[in-house]
Symmetry: C2
Subunit: 251 residues, 2 copies
DNA sequence: CTTTACTGCGTAGACCATACGCAGAAGCTA
DNA sequence: TAGCTTCTGCGTATGGTCTACGCAGTAAAG
């Protein structure tokens, strides 16, 4: 394997660093560093994750960490990759693409919800770290044999994972804002609608006023809205797959 | 209007601060501060936007800015709201919901592309600042009279804007990564696929290998993939709207 | 035993946001 | 006109952040 060609961060993530045996033994492992970072992030949020904080948690000095990780952002990338964990079970042999892809999307959401700090780590590129690649694989697996082209399969997967990510972002942001202000999420929502009503009262906002006039429970079931978007996307994909299946000569 | 009840940041964004005339005249306006922040962000990226940087750009001291803005993040929110600018034209009287919503989604993408730094500012909640509210209004306008319920209209809009945002994120991230490494985006893409091939070679990644084996141009048209996802989502929404129209008694 | 490579880490530099309080300016009131 | 009040800009200071650099010591190779 061409370890040499791979960038440092990728080699690190895949455990492909050629370690010569000379010199003192390391007192830590990369896994320990990453795990400690995750622990701090989970307990006190991403802002609490500083190099000095992680170091002191491990009982070493700040600069020691740079023997394990080239830069802080590489540490964050590694943290995200391990915290995401493995994807949910792949499509079973007799399973259709749709429930498999739905489970995959749901898995994305669950992972982000379980480790809420992850949503604040910017995605640095296409999936290249071990768990990311596994997720990628399972996503593609769901779409195997659907007649979708390569770029279409990729786009579909990105569509679903992007939706999970943005959904996790806004729902978690709202929940945290509520927690910070010591109110229930319902109260925060109510206050929002009231503020919006006050601000839009003088101006020409017919659609918003129409919305506000409509009685709506604003979260009957918490995840019903998530489901709504997911089903819409899957419906759209299904339309395409069906049209391909009925008239494949056209492609 | 109940200015009193509104939080500071919102009152600020809508220009509803009761300014008594006592004391020295201010040497700046909030608009100037925000505009300067945008200027710095546009020219040198979001990390370059520090309070001291914006202040020195305006020829005042760092701490003076805090007379205009309660906290840095409020400044960022205001920057995003004004930089987003007004939405594209709303649905015309004889226009269908679909082209209107497509234009709206495309507008989101265009805005984020024009001011790429905006994607790094975390969304702090539901739309409440002036331009955000205008965008919200126009999005809802597109879905007027489609038979979708209130929560469904909101979910649909969030689906589209979330997609635009995540698409902008990954496409801009890749472009910037390419620019940083002095390569063309194509070269970066090629290198990625090669790395992925190397890393997945030993393991069980059938779907990825299948993908890699398929010849694909990987961006014939740059925005074809964006279009793909958008059309899928709109197809899904259209299915729902059609089903509602044909059997409304069911709802 | 020397050479070599690697370790942890102390120091220091260059940033960052923002709490606090002061001097002076400008309007309102007497 | 005098004084009070309020608001401005800003100097100072606190307590962080990441990380470049270089040194002392360790452990294996020759």
């Amino acid at each position: 394997m061409d370890d040499v060609e791979l960038p440092e961060n990728i080699a690190l993530a895949w455990g492909l660093r050629d370690r010569s045996s000379r010199g003192p033994k390391r007192s830590l492992s990369l896994e320990q560093v990453v795990a400690t970072g995750i622990q701090v992030a989970q307990a006190e949020g991403l802002p609490a994750v500083s190099m000095s904080r992680v170091a002191s948690e491990l009982g070493v000095s700040t600069m020691s960490l740079y023997r394990y990780v080239p830069t802080k952002h590489d540490l964050l990338d590694l943290m995200v990759d391990t915290a995401f964990g493995p994807p949910p079970p792949p499509r079973a042999p007799d399973e259709g693409w749709r429930p498999a892809l739905a489970r995959w999307g749901e898995g994305n959401l669950v992972a982000l919800r379980r480790q809420p700090w992850m949503r604040h780590v910017a995605i640095s590129g296409p999936p290249i770290n071990p768990n990311q690649v596994r997720w990628f694989e399972y996503g593609l697996l769901a779409l195997r044999g659907t007649g979708l082209r390569a770029t279409e399969r990729i786009s579909t997967i990105m569509l679903v994972s992007g939706y999970a990510r943005s959904w996790a972002m806004i729902s978690l942001d709202l929940a945290e804002a509520a927690a910070r202000s010591g109110q229930t999420p319902d109260e925060v929502g109510l206050r929002y609608w009231r503020n919006l009503a006050v601000l839009t009262a003088p101006g020409p906002y017919p659609a918003i006023h129409e919305l506000l006039a409509e009685t709506f429970d604003d979260e009957e079931h918490p995840d019903e809205e998530w489901r709504f978007g997911l089903e819409r996307m899957l419906d759209g994909v299904e339309m395409l797959i069906r049209s391909r299946a009925s008239g494949p000569a056209r492609g």
